[in-house]
Symmetry: C2
Subunit: 283 residues, 2 copies
Amino acid sequence: MKEIVMADRAGFCFGVKRAVDAIVDALESRSSAKEGEVWSIGMPIHNPQEVARLEAMGLKIARNADEVPNGARVFIRAHGEPRAVMEGLRGRGETIADMTCPHVRRAQERAGEFSSRGYDIVLLGDARHPEIQAIMGYVDGPVDVVANVAEAENLPKRPRVALISQTTQQEELLAGIASALVPKAGELCVCNTICKATVERQDAVRRLAGRVDGVVLVGGRESANTAKLRDIAKANGMDVLWIESAEEMEWGWFEGKMKIGIAAGASTPQWLITEVCNKIART
Amino acid sequence: MKEIVMADRAGFCFGVKRAVDAIVDALESRSSAKEGEVWSIGMPIHNPQEVARLEAMGLKIARNADEVPNGARVFIRAHGEPRAVMEGLRGRGETIADMTCPHVRRAQERAGEFSSRGYDIVLLGDARHPEIQAIMGYVDGPVDVVANVAEAENLPKRPRVALISQTTQQEELLAGIASALVPKAGELCVCNTICKATVERQDAVRRLAGRVDGVVLVGGRESANTAKLRDIAKANGMDVLWIESAEEMEWGWFEGKMKIGIAAGASTPQWLITEVCNKIART
C-alpha cells in the first residue's frame, strides 16, 4: 500500500472557491431551470471536470458577452474581464455577478491607475491567458506582456514604467524581471500582485521535496498555476504525474514508488483531489 | 617607453565641474580677498589636491553651517546638504550658491516626494557619505540605507517602498537590491537616480579590459565613485594602481607593463590626470 503525503496547501484558492460557490448558490436557488438562466462568459475555471459538474447543474457558458441572452444573470469569472466588456454588459442592463478575484481586481486597478498617471505598463504573464487579457483591458495606451527575463531585456528604455504581475506568477521571476527593467526605466514601480495562495501552493510543493518518491499533481491542463507547480516540483528534483482526474492515473508511473505526494492547482476542486487520493490508497 | 591608453570617459563630471567653476569664478571676481569671503561647507569635492588649489585661491572651508560667518557667500557642494541645513542658511539670510548636482537634487526630490506620499524610503549607498546624508535630510520619517543585497534582504516586509540610489552607485547593484526588495514590498518604486556620467566612467574602465597591462586610477581616497572604478577594473581582471597624484606613483608596479590604461573618478581635475600621464610618458 502506498503512503500518501498531501501538500499542506492544495486545491481551490479563495477567489476560485468564492466564484464557484456563488454559481452553485445561484443555480440551486432557482425555482425552475427556465426561470433565471445562469451564464458564465468563458470557462468559469480552468478545470474541465468542475465545469462539467456546473454545466450538469444548469450553468450556460457563453464564448463571449454577445452570446449572453438579454435578461440573463451573468457571472464574471475569477480571472476577470476587460473594462470594455464589463461596461458593455452594464450598458445592456444585465444582472452581473462580478466574481473577479479580489487579487486580480487589484492588478486591474493598479494597471488602470499607473497607466492614467502616464506610466508605460509591463505585465508579467501569459499574453493569451484570460487574466492578462482582462488586465490589459484596464490599460489606456500601449502595454507590453513579458513571460521571461529575456523578453524584458528587449524592451526599450522609458522614463516611467509600472510592472504588474499576473497573480499566478512566481515571485522569483517577478524579481528577475524587475532587475532587468531597472536599467530601462528612470522610475520603475513594481506592483507585487502575486497572490499569496499561489505562493503558498508553490511553497507547499517545495516542502514535498525529499519527503516523497514522486508527486501526483491534480489540475486542469489549461491551468497556468498548475503548470507552475509542475515546474517547481521538477526543478526540485521530483518525478511528477500531472493528471486532470483519477481516470488518467498511469499505474506504471507508481512502480517502485512508496511515498506519493499529492499537489493540486488553485482551480482543482476538493472532490477531484479526494477521488485521486482514494484511488491511490486502494492500490 | 610606456604606451598610454586613456579611458574614453575620465575626470570631472558635469556636476563637479559646474561647482568648481562657480567657486573659481567667485574667487577670481572678488576685488579684494577681504571683501566677500567665499565659503564651502565641508570639502567641496573629494579630491584633496583640487581642494588645496581652491584654498590657495582663498576658499574657506567650514566644518558645518554654524562655522560660516554672517554675510559670507556660501557654496553648497555638488553632494548637496540636508534640507534643514539649507533652510537654516536661508533663515540667516546668507547668500547661497547652491551647486548641488542636478542629479543629486533629483534624488533628494524623489526621496521627499515618495516619503510625503507615505512610502518607506530605502537608499542604496554609503550611510556616511555626504550625498546620502543630504538625501536622508529630505525624508520625513524612517529611512534605511543599504550598501548591498544582504542588507536589503534583512529589511522587513512593508506595503509601499521607494528605493532611491546614491548617484555614484552601479546599476547592476541597484537592480540586485530591487530584486531583493520585490518580495518585501506590495509596491516597490525604484528611482534610477544613478548618474549617466558615473555609468559612462564605469563602462570606459570596462572597455580597457584586454587592451592594457594595468590601469593607473587617479582619484581621491575619499571618492566613492573612484572606489567603484577600482572594483570594476579588478572584477574585469585588471591590475590597478590607485593614486591621488603623480607623486604617489609606485614605479615597481610598472615593471613588465607596457600598455598603461588611465582612468579617473568624477572628482579628479584634468590637471592631475595630465600630470600623471606626462610623468608616465617620460619614463
